[in-house]
């Protein structure tokens, strides 16, 4: 038990802090679900990459810092402490990146990873289909081998970032006789290929947060396949593990929100205290964001000692998504009748965050699916 950071970790923190102070945009960027905001965020990602900060845990030769996870937590703490912009290429950096590092060929790594780090390529997810949501193994979009190419037909949906992205990664059924987890192949698809139609879906905040993607005889080179043909499920599950785990939502982000919630409460304390459960909610926000932080340091410390993180990472997803909802619900209750005014500067971020928080228990594997995973793979209960 030692909570003191090493001098190397302290130096890293100081370096990150100084770089952010010099480089974080002075005015907030527009929403990345608009064309203008998307380009601003892309430019910010490129700047981060210039500093070597697009993903500090990536190896140095791929544009990262070769940091361990404690340095990653430190980076996230500094990043969120100054309200730096939301990250827009997490699909690539957190989901596809690690998969490429584990399963990609040297040629694929060289072709995709540096461009991903600089945000030259923006990646969209191609997992869900109209009939394959929580039941992802029901994927029906087909990939038929034709010489050195696959021919894709079918439809993906809820594809985050697909409106403005230029590449998509996803699973396609390459063996028409197969069912469920067998016969799926992991492919990388340029979204400007002939036969692709991207149809934006308007989210409840009015913005184009995700899209449907239609494939009509789309031809993709075999060199865009990750792993073996038919092994896509196993390749994808490695990424899903990353997604559900620690990296998708660092604790610092929630600690920052809990702090802002306390500030909001203190500005409006007299009105808020008419309902004692509001103060309760403010305290709970602090407690749970601290708990998530401490659990993260606990996990990372155990990893450093050689433990493996398995299905228990599913508790993370449940915990932070419910925390995010609880914090934003409390903020809405503090704001009272003003909470609906979209242009009120004190309201704006809370309202946007409140809407986005509704999605948390749904995306990246619903919380019901996460509870099944915990029960079956951690507690050892029988499958239904």
């Amino acid at each position: 038990m030692d909570l003191d950071f090493t001098s190397q970790q302290q130096a890293f923190r100081a370096e990150v802090r100084a770089w952010l102070r010099d480089n974080v945009p002075k005015t907030p960027l527009a929403s990345y679900d608009t064309r203008e905001g998307f380009e601003q965020h892309r430019a910010w990602e490129a700047k981060l990459a210039e500093g070597g900060y697009s993903s500090v845990i990536w190896p140095k030769e791929l544009g990262g810092r070769g940091s361990d996870l404690i340095e990653w937590l430190i980076f996230e703490e500094e990043y969120h402490a100054v309200d730096a912009p939301m990250r827009v290429n997490q699909n690539g950096i957190l989901l596809l990146g690690p998969t490429l590092m584990e399963f990609g060929t040297d040629e694929q790594k060289a072709r995709f990873l540096p461009r991903m780090a600089r945000c030259d390529d923006m990646w969209a997810q191609g997992w869900s289909e109209p009939n394959a949501g929580s039941d992802m193994a029901a994927i029906a979009s087909r990939a038929v081998r034709d010489g050195a190419e696959y021919v894709l037909n079918g439809q993906k949906t809820w594809s985050t970032r697909a409106v403005f992205a230029n590449w998509l990664f996803g699973l396609f059924r390459s063996d028409p006789q197969s069912s469920r987890h067998q016969g799926l192949t992991y492919l990388l698809v340029p979204l400007d290929a002939v036969g692709i139609t991207v149809r934006p879906i308007r989210a409840l905040n009015g913005k184009q947060a995700f899209a449907e993607v239609f494939f009509d005889d789309v031809r993709v080179s075999v060199s865009n396949r990750i792993g073996e043909e038919g092994q896509g499920w196993n390749v994808a599950m490695a990424t899903a593990g990353f997604e559900r785990g620690l990296l998708l939502r660092s604790p610092a982000r929630f600690q920052r929100t809990a702090k802002r919630l306390m500030e909001l409460y203190r500005r409006h304390q007299q009105a808020a205290d008419r309902d004692p459960s509001i103060r309760d909610g403010v305290l709970k926000a602090w407690m749970d964001s601290e708990a998530y932080n401490l659990a993260s340091y606990h996990t990372v410390s155990r990893l450093a000692k050689g433990y493996r993180v398995g299905a228990e990472a599913s508790t993370n997803k449940i915990f932070w998504s419910e925390l995010d909802l609880q914090m934003h619900e409390t903020a809405m209750r503090i704001l009272g009748p003003r909470a609906e005014l979209v242009d009120d500067p004190e309201v704006h971020d809370w309202l946007e965050g409140f809407l986005f928080a509704q999605a948390g228990p749904i995306y990246a594997g619903t919380n019901e699916i996460q509870r099944n995973i915990i029960a079956e793979r951690v507690l050892g209960l029988p499958k239904s």
């Binding site: 038990m1 030692d2 909570l3 003191d4 950071f5 090493t6 970790q9 404690i70 430190i74 996230e76 703490e77 500094e78 969120h80 402490a81 610092a252 600690q255 920052r256 809990a258 702090k259 306390m262 203190r266 304390q269 103060r279 309760d280 403010v282 305290l283 602090w286 407690m287 749970d288 601290e290 708990a291 998530y292 932080n293 401490l294 659990a295 340091y297 606990h298 990372v300 410390s301 155990r302 450093a304 000692k305 228990e312 508790t315 449940i318 915990f319 019901e368 996460q370 509870r371 099944n372 915990i374 029960a375 079956e376 951690v378 507690l379 050892g380 209960l381 029988p382 499958k383 239904s384």
Partner: protein
Amino acid sequence: MDFTFNEDQVALRDSVSRFLMNEAAPELLREIWETGGGRSRELRAKFAAQGMTGLSVPEAYGGVGLGDIDWALVLEELGYYAIPDSLVDTAYVATTLMCQVDEAAALREQWLPKVADGTARLSIEHPVNPYVADAHLANVVFAFRAGAGGALELHAVPGAGLQRSSLTSIDASRRLAALPQKLNASTRLLAGARAQAMADATLDRASVAVAGRLIGLAQRMLDLSVDHVAQRKQFGKPIGSFQAVKHHLADVMTKIEFARPVFYRAVLALQRDERHRAALVSHAKLACADAAWTAARKGIQVHGASGYTWEVDLQMFMKRAWVLDAAWGDRAFHKARLGEALVRDDAPLGPAATLS
């Protein structure tokens, strides 16, 4: 930065766990429940033989002089096995108190060797607890009480001849009493600011000790529940295969996963006597109580009617969890204390605020 326990601490936990598994089975606990005093001299002697009574006692008095962090994993095990004994109050909280008060030198000489060899019991009266645990067998009661002028005083009162009125707890592992006796200067160790500082430190240490046992209790109730739902069949299959049941237990697991590190953080704050100690301790107490009460509620639900019986062991752990929730500060106390700490201008808010 290393937020894990070292090999010695893990080895101590493992040996305590093995010992309790063999020596503190639920059947034995039930036997102890039925005795008049509710305590077993034999069990205490076995704790002494294991070295558990001497963990905080300095080497000069026959112990090993360990600190809060060394106790952390042991506390979880004592909760997991729902030990009906004043071991924690005696060998950890009151022993540490005695070691931190200069004026207690003679008491240390007299009692710490007996604490270490398992023949002395200590108990603590504190304004936050209306009733005193284990006063009936205590050799010494350390009493924090307001003196004539209103300032807090610390007394060391001999247990022999002390007036007591016993109270019966729903948890037969608890032995409570009110101590109506007026105290005078003859038993006083400290008064004023130093008495208050010791009262605060003792409250925090005892609260952390409760939090650790609550997280152990939560884990035990989860384990009992998992065993039950894997065995019990309805509609031709184990009830643990049904999602409604799975989700109850996944929620308990999640509560435990995010309470345990909070407990560890509070233990560190205690050992390092940190600036935000009170807030971190209250957080731990609240989080661990929430986990334990959730484990009890979901546990009895998935046990069905059998969970409502005297015969099935779950009741022993539930009752312990229910009553420890309000011991050493109920939730209202800890929430109020946390709230006061967090609305101050120097509150530990935002990323990295509670680390080092």
